[in-house]
Amino acid sequence: MSGTAILELRKLTRTHGKGAAEVHALRGVDLIVRAGELVAVMGPSGSGKSTLLSLAGGLDSPSGGEVVIENTPLGSQSKSQLAAIRRRSVGYVFQDYNLIPALTAAENVALPRELDGVSARKARTEALAALEEVGLQAEADRFPDEMSGGQQQRVAIARALIGERRLILTDEPTGALDTETGETVLRLLRKRCDEGAAGVLVTHEARHAAWADRIVFIRDGLIVDESAPSQRAEDLLVSDEVQA
C-alpha cells in the first residue's frame, strides 16, 4: 500500500476511571491508514475497538499517544480547530444513522457543508450529487422517517462523504440491516476507498470485514494480529484458458 497516510495512531492509550476502578481501554495502539485503503478492526466486545474509532475521529481524547489526521496532530489543536477538522476531514457512519429527523435527506447531507460556510445553494448541489452516488437522488426531499433503514444508512454515508473528506470512520454500519442491504452499504464504502478515501470499519462480522484490504485484530486494548488477502483466490476467475 503506497498511498499517503491519512490517519496515524501513535502509541495510543486510553484509560477510563481512576485507582481501583481504572480500566485500560487502549494500551498502546499503532496504526496507519492510507489513502485508498479500507482497514477493518475486529475484536470481542470490550476489546477497545469502539474507543479506537472515537479517538481516531477526535470525538474523545487519548490518555497518551497521538492521533494524526492528514499530517495534523489532533492534540495540538484548539477546540474550534478540532471541530473544523472533524467536520472537514472526517466522515462518520454509526450503527444508528444519526440523521436529524426534522431535515430532509438532502438537508441532512448538506448540513456539514453549510457549517463549513459553503453557500446553501452550493451545499445542496453537492448534497444531491452525493445522494445520487448512493442511489438516492429520488429520495432527496424525503424525511428520515419516510425512508427504510437501508436508505437512511445510505444518506448517512452520503453525509459522511460530502466535501473533501478523506477519512471515513464507521462503527457497525450495517447494524440492523438485512444481508443484501448491508452488502450495498459495504460496496459503497469499498468504492469510496478505491477512489482514494481512507476507511476504518469496526465490525464483529467477518463477512463485512472481508471487504477490507487489511483486518486488524484487537484484544484487551492491543492490536494482536493482522490479516490480508492471500491473493490465492484471485486465480479463481483466471483459470487456465482452454484451447480446444
Partner: protein
C-alpha cells in the same frame, strides 16, 4: 462433488465435446473446482457405458461430441431433487484437530484458533474481492462464491465459540489454556469435545 452429474448438467443444454464440457463447467461454477481433462474423458466413457450419454458425431477438427439421453436426463433431475446428505461431505479436519489439541498437554489452543481464524479471514477477503468484481449477470458463479463465503463465516463463528469456551474452561479450572500439565489436559478432554460437536452444526 459429482463429476458425472456436473457433466450431465452441462450436456442438458446441448451437444458438447470434452474440452467444452470442462470450460463450461468451470465457467458456471466460478472455476472453484478445477476439473482435469482426463477426468472428463473417463467420466464420459462411463456415462456412455451406462446409457446416460451417447456420441453425436465429430466436427472437422475431429472433436467427438456427446449428447444426453433420456435416461441421462432422468438421472440428472433425480440428482437435483435429492438433498446432499451430511455424510457425503468430507470429515471436518479442523474440528478433529481442535478436539485433539485440547487433549494434548502444552498445546496453545488460542494460538491455533487465531492462526486458523486469520487463514479463514484471508480466504474470506479473497472470495469477497472476487465477488466484488462479478457482474449481476454472473448468478451461477456468485452463488458458488457465496457458499464459500458463508462457510468461511461459519468457521470463524465456530472458532470464536471455541476460543470463548476454552478460555472460560481454563478460568473455571484455574489453568492456563496455553500451558497445561498432562493431568489437567486429561481432565479437560471430555468437555471441549462437546464444544466441537455443537460447533459442527452448520
Amino acid at each position: 462433488m459429482s463429476v458425472k452429474h456436473s457433466l450431465l448438467a452441462v450436456l442438458a443444454d446441448g451437444e458438447r465435446y470434452g474440452y467444452q464440457l470442462r470450460a463450461e463447467f468451470e465457467e458456471r461454477t466460478g472455476a472453484t473446482w478445477p476439473l482435469n481433462i482426463g477426468q472428463v474423458y473417463t467420466t464420459l466413457s462411463r456415462l456412455e457405458r451406462d446409457g446416460l450419454v451417447e456420441p453425436a458425431g465429430q466436427d472437422a477438427a475431429n472433436h467427438v461430441f456427446y449428447r444426453i439421453t433420456d435416461a441421462g436426463r432422468a438421472e440428472l433431475f433425480a440428482w437435483f431433487a435429492k438433498p446432499v446428505t451430511r455424510a457425503e461431505r468430507p470429515r471436518d479436519e479442523l474440528a478433529v484437530k481442535l478436539a485433539l489439541a485440547v487433549t494434548v498437554a502444552g498445546v496453545d489452543v488460542p494460538a491455533i484458533v487465531q492462526a486458523q481464524r486469520k487463514h479463514a479471514l484471508a480466504a474470506l477477503q479473497d472470495y469477497t474481492r472476487v465477488k466484488g468484481r462479478l457482474g449481476p449477470a454472473e448468478l451461477a458463479a456468485s452463488l458458488v462464491l457465496e457458499s464459500m463465503i458463508f462457510q468461511c463465516e461459519a468457521e470463524i463463528r465456530w472458532l470464536d465459540h471455541v476460543e470463548a469456551r476454552v478460555l472460560r474452561h481454563a478460568r473455571e479450572s484455574g489453568t492456563s489454556p496455553a500451558k497445561r500439565t498432562e493431568n489437567t489436559a486429561d481432565r479437560e478432554a471430555a468437555e471441549p469435545a462437546t464444544a466441537t460437536t455443537e460447533g459442527k452444526n452448520r
